[in-house]
Subunit: 161 residues, 2 copies
DNA sequence: ATTTATATGTAATGATATAACATATCAAGC
DNA sequence: GCTTGATATGTTATATCATTACATATAAAT
C-alpha cells in the first residue's frame, strides 16, 4: 500500500517500520529511553506523514491509554525533536517525523498552504547564505530553520489563484 | 545617539525617521492607508529595534490611546508584514521592523538565544538551496522563512556553554 | 537496599491568535 | 453634499498553543 510522502507516493508501512527501527537502534546505542509514550508519539507522526499540532498528537496518545494532558505530548515531542526523529515546523507550530533519520542535516520544509502537506527537502548545510551572513556578524549558529510556504504540485492544479 | 541595530551600533533616530518616511511614501504611491495605529505600530517596532511579541506591541498601542484588545495589534502587524515593513520571526512568534524596507528580499534572521536580539541578514533569494529542492518537487514558493538560532558575538563572551 | 536521576500523570495557568459582530471612517459615484 | 460600498477600528468572546508546578512512578547507579 502506498501513501503520500511529501508530494510523492511510497511504501508507507516499510517507511514506518524503518524509522522506528532506526530510532530504536539510535536510542539503544546512546542509552536513551525509547519509552512506550515516545515510541507511540513517533508512530503517530509517521503514520500520518504530515505535520500535526501537539494537541492532535495528544488526542492519539490519550486514545492509546497515555495521559491526556498537554505535557504528555510536549515532552514526548521535545524528546523526538531533540534527538532528530522529528522536527518542529515553526511556521505552523506543528511537528513532523524526520524524513532522513540518522543523517546529520539542516531540515528544510516545503509547506503547502492549501493542503498543509509538508515535504522535507535536502539542502546543503551552510550553503544557504546564512553561513556567510553569520560569519560576517560573528554569530555562532546552533540551529537553522528553513521553511518555504507555497503551493504543492497537486494544489497548483486545483487552486485558482 | 546610537543604539544597537542587530549586533551593531547606529544612528537610531535617523533610522526610525527614514523607515517611517519610506513607509509613508510606499503607501502613498499605492493608495494604502498608513493610518495612525499602523504608523504607531511601526514606530514601536522601530523604536525597540528588537523582536516583540504581539501583546507587548499591544500594550504600547493601548498606552498610546488605541484599542487594548489583541486584534488591534494583530491587524496592524499583519498590515506591516504584508507590505514588507516588518517581518514575523516564526521561531519566536514575534515581530520585528524590516531592516531593508523597500528592497525586495527574502528575510533571514540571526536570533540570539541568550539576549533575544535579532539581526536581519541579507541573503541571496533562491540561493538558499530551497529553490532547487522546490524546482525538483514542482513546488511553487510564495514565501520563505530562514532563521538561525545561536549566540551573538556579545553573548559568546558571557555565555559559559 | 538505598540513593539519585529520569520519566510520567495531572491540575492549573500562561501565552499566542482568531472569530464574530458592531461602529466608524474613507473613497467613489451620483 | 448625499448615498453607497469598501476598508478600518473597537470590543467581546473564544480558540489554539505551551509551560509551571508538583505528586507519583520507574529506571540507573552505588
Ligand atoms: Zn529531518
Ligand atoms: Zn498541496
Ligand atoms: Zn526585511
Ligand atoms: Zn546576544
Amino acid at each position: 500500500m502506498t501513501k503520500a510522502h511529501g508530494f510523492h507516493q511510497h511504501d508507507h508501512a516499510a517507511c514506518i517500520s524503518d524509522a522506528l527501527t532506526k530510532a530504536e537502534a539510535y536510542c539503544a546505542a546512546r542509552k536513551l529511553q525509547f519509552t512506550p509514550v515516545r515510541r507511540r508519539t513517533l508512530e503517530v507522526l509517521l503514520a500520518h506523514h504530515r505535520s500535526m499540532g501537539a494537541y492532535e498528537v495528544l488526542s492519539h496518545l490519550d486514545a492509546s491509554g497515555f495521559g491526556a494532558q498537554p505535557p504528555v505530548a510536549y515532552r514526548a515531542l521535545d524528546f523526538l525533536v531533540k534527538h532528530g526523529f522529528a522536527h518542529k515546523v515553526e511556521a505552523m507550530n506543528a511537528y513532523v517525523a524526520c524524513s532522513h533519520p540518522g543523517a546529520q542535516h539542516v531540515p528544510a520544509f516545503l509547506i503547502c498552504r492549501q493542503c498543509s502537506t509538508v515535504q522535507e527537502a535536502q539542502i546543503e548545510p551552510m550553503q544557504n547564505g546564512l553561513g556567510d551572513a553569520a560569519q560576517d556578524a560573528g554569530f555562532a549558529i546552533e540551529r537553522a530553520v528553513v521553511e518555504a510556504q507555497g503551493l504543492c504540485p497537486l494544489c497548483q492544479q486545483s487552486a485558482p489563484e
